[in-house]
């Protein structure tokens, strides 16, 4: 793999589909369900596409206004009795959604199961902590690119030796790395050991938007804006050559490799971009919290992150946004249940998975490259989100 062959001009999605192994009956049934689900989705999105542009834009604008005013209006079904809605949105939901978007690149788009994603989240948070409080006093804005780059570099460093592994072996190795990063933070004096880092610098005040300890709304506005930016950045990426290569790798890595996709390089890219977004999320979290310690980056968090992606619908960006919201927001919404809220959250996870096994908002079959026909063989293949990349089948 020393020299990368040129990318094929044909859509890699198709290649992957055709070259895939024969579809088992079980997969076909699931695929049909998926196809049915995505057909529904397609109807909706077609209806959306048929709306006049003005209507579409004003609806989107209304949605944005609704979202941006959430901390002020606190509508009853959304408010979180027992804790502060704006604080929850800005300090928990925003980082989780950014994380879900980033992890979706790795898990949903490229099909690499990463159980150590919290490591990148920690790298972002600690980079900000080290640069604005522990060892320097750099401004937040300057730290923003540094955090992203540092996380990206760590992603490449961890990805390079491990990305040859497949499926669950990759999962356990990444889990190990995530845990090693936390344990090192706990141990290294340079990173504040178990005591963590205090007094982390907040973003700079912009006009009426102040980022003091009690200005929780501004953090939410900032976070929402970052989410929108990240969303469109990743959306562009998904529809690019890189995104198509990821899809090919996800669908069948061996086939993709045979067809000339430099799989290792693209997997590394997925890892690096995922890590960068994860680091950004960690930075947002640390900037809001002002304090971080290794306890905030345990393995359970990695698992919740994965849950966000899978719950929402891996590979579908609106889906993972919803997944991220559900995973971070639901336990806070359940606060009226007091200490039993995590028990109910667990039960809710099981129930949601039973009723929406494709995710709350499943991936739409083939995005824009597929004409809106009745389910075809491609749909069936596409609907199989088996993340093994062809090493072995789901239930085969």
């Amino acid at each position: 793999m020393s020299s990368a062959p040129p990318m094929p001009t044909e859509d890699p999605d198709r290649i992957a589909s055709h070259a895939g192994p024969p579809t088992a009956a079980a997969k076909q049934v699931f695929g049909q369900r998926m196809a049915a689900a995505s057909a529904t989705m397609r109807r909706w999105s077609d209806a959306w596409a048929r709306l006049p542009t003005v209507v579409r834009w004003s609806l989107l604008g209304l949605l944005l206004v609704f979202l941006y005013t959430l901390p002020l209006t606190k509508p009853w079904p959304i408010d979180t009795p027992g804790t502060d809605l704006a604080g929850v949105l800005g300090g928990t939901v925003v980082p989780y959604v950014v994380v879900a978007l980033g992890l979706n690149v790795v898990v949903g788009m490229a099909g690499l199961l990463d159980l150590g994603y919290v490591g990148f989240y920690a790298v972002g948070a600690y980079t900000l902590g080290v640069l604005t409080s522990r060892h320097a006093n750099l401004p937040w804005l300057l730290c923003l690119p540094i955090c992203i780059v540092v996380s990206m570099v760590v992603g490449v460093l961890l990805g390079a030796p491990t990305l040859r592994l497949r499926g669950d072996y990759l999962a356990i190795v990444t889990l190990g790395f995530g845990e090693i990063i936390r344990l090192l933070a706990e141990r290294l004096d340079w990173l504040g050991t178990i005591n963590g880092i205090q007094g982390i610098g907040p973003p700079p005040n912009v006009g009426p938007f102040k980022f003091g300890v009690l200005n929780k709304n501004s953090f939410f506005y900032l976070g929402l804006t970052v989410i929108i930016v990240v969303y469109f950045f990743l959306k562009r990426l998904e529809n690019s050559r890189v995104g198509r290569a990821w899809t090919a790798i996800r669908e069948d890595e061996d086939a993709a490799e045979l067809m000339g996709v430099p799989t290792f390089r693209f997997k590394l890219w997925a890892f690096a971009i995922g890590a960068a977004v994860g680091g950004l999320a960690g930075m947002l979290y640390a900037g809001k919290a002002g304090f971080i310690n290794p306890d905030g980056f345990k393995i359970n968090l990695s698992i919740l992150f994965i849950a966000a992606v899978v719950l929402g619908g891996p590979g579908n960006m609106p889906g993972v946004v919803i997944g991220g919201i559900v995973v971070s927001y639901l336990p806070e919404r359940f606060r009226f249940l007091n200490t039993s809220r995590y028990m109910w959250f667990g039960i809710a996870l099981v129930i949601m998975m039973i009723f929406r096994p494709q995710g709350l908002l499943p991936r739409r079959a083939h995005g824009r490259t597929q004409p809106p026909d009745p389910p075809t063989f491609e749909d069936v293949k596409e609907g199989d989100p088996d993340l093994e990349g062809g090493a072995h089948g789901a239930l085969a």
Partner: protein, 325 residues
């Protein structure tokens, strides 16, 4: 790094690692069996273990062994009474483990299988189920989220020494018990009709179904067996350690899962080897790094990463009646 410590503590570290590793190995079986058959990570196996540990506790209450007395001695038993009590504890633990594991399959996994859900979804469902079980014990247990100290019926004694290391009677029970259970399991999988069914389903579910194997039943039995092993592990853990709480499962579960992968997930002998290697490496790592147990974990994970880099399917490779492509 202090290698002198490591050399001085080599034998005790190894013996303790062996004991702990045997328990890891038994829990790892719950992951490995299910993985071999369904190719999914049964994350909730750790909570099966946790509930089984409470099963041991419950068994003593059924027998009316007095609860911790505050002062004075534990209600030690000897001879037949001891064997009977331990046997009953083990039985209850295993029944609890088996029941919970089967319930888990019926409630959290079977509906997903019927819907042909992708594999990752099982992971999330399993995580949900673990949250629910662990939190339910914390919420409704008689002592809530506090630590439960289990009454001790076996008086721990030193039996003999290997070099500088003491070998206690509970060590022997744990290691021998784990090996026995493993042996029975291997015989069961290789020699019985049901075992053949398990191997058949592991090899090719569709074909097995076409050949007349009742796949649902085989899967249920696989979970049952995994649960029994977790129950046995929980019993041995209680003999060795004697405490339980609602968060007990997670940490041990991660270690056991790591052990399963280290040995080669889906491979029964691999679980045994992986468990023991992990237990020993962890203790060695701790001894090398100023007796810091957390560094032991770092070393254990690092070894796992290194092993997988050179043997991408674990020490023994994956196999449950199958040769992998």
């Amino acid at each position: 790094m202090t290698f002198s410590n490591f050399i001085e503590q080599f034998w005790p570290s190894t013996i303790n690692g062996l004991v702990l590793g045997s328990i890891y190995a038994l829990i790892a079986l719950g992951y490995t069996l299910v993985y071999g058959v369904l190719r999914l990570i049964n994350f909730a196996n750790s909570e099966v273990f946790m509930l089984s540990a409470f099963g041991s506790f419950w068994a003593l209450q059924i027998l009316g062994v007095p609860y911790r007395l505050g002062n004075g001695d534990d209600p030690y038993k000897t001879g037949l009474a001891l064997v009977g009590t331990l046997g009953f504890m083990m039985l209850v633990s295993m029944v609890v483990g088996g029941t919970v594991a089967m319930g888990l399959e019926r409630i959290a996994y079977r509906p997903l299988r019927k819907r042909h859900a992708p594999r990752l979804v099982f992971l999330i469902s399993a995580i949900g189920a673990s949250f629910a079980m662990s939190e339910a014990v914390g919420e409704f247990g008689p002592r809530g989220r506090q630590e439960y100290g289990i009454q001790r019926v076996l008086q721990k004694r030193k039996v003999f020494s290997i070099f500088s290391a003491d070998v206690r009677n509970d060590y022997i029970i744990v290691v021998v018990g784990a090996l026995l259970m493993m042996t029975v399991l291997v015989l069961f999988v290789n020699r019985t009709r049901i075992g053949r069914g398990i191997r058949a389903v592991a090899q090719d579910m569709e074909t097995a179904r076409l050949m007349g194997v009742n796949v649902d039943r085989v899967i249920l039995i696989t979970f049952l067996v995994g649960g029994l092993m977790a129950g046995g592990a929980a019993f041995l853990y209680e003999i060795y350690n004697g405490t339980a709480r609602n968060t007990l499962g997670f940490e041990l579960g991660v270690k056991a899962f790591t052990a399963a992968v280290l040995g080669g997930i889906g491979n029964i002998k691999g679980a045994l080897l992986g468990g023991i290697v992990l237990g020993i490496i962890e203790n060695w790592g701790t001894a090398i790094f100023q007796s810091n147990q957390k560094m032991g974990s770092v070393v254990a994970f690092s070894v796992l990463v290194l092993v997988l880099m050179f043997r991408p399917t674990g020490l023994l490779g994956e196999a449950l009646g199958r040769s992998k492509a």
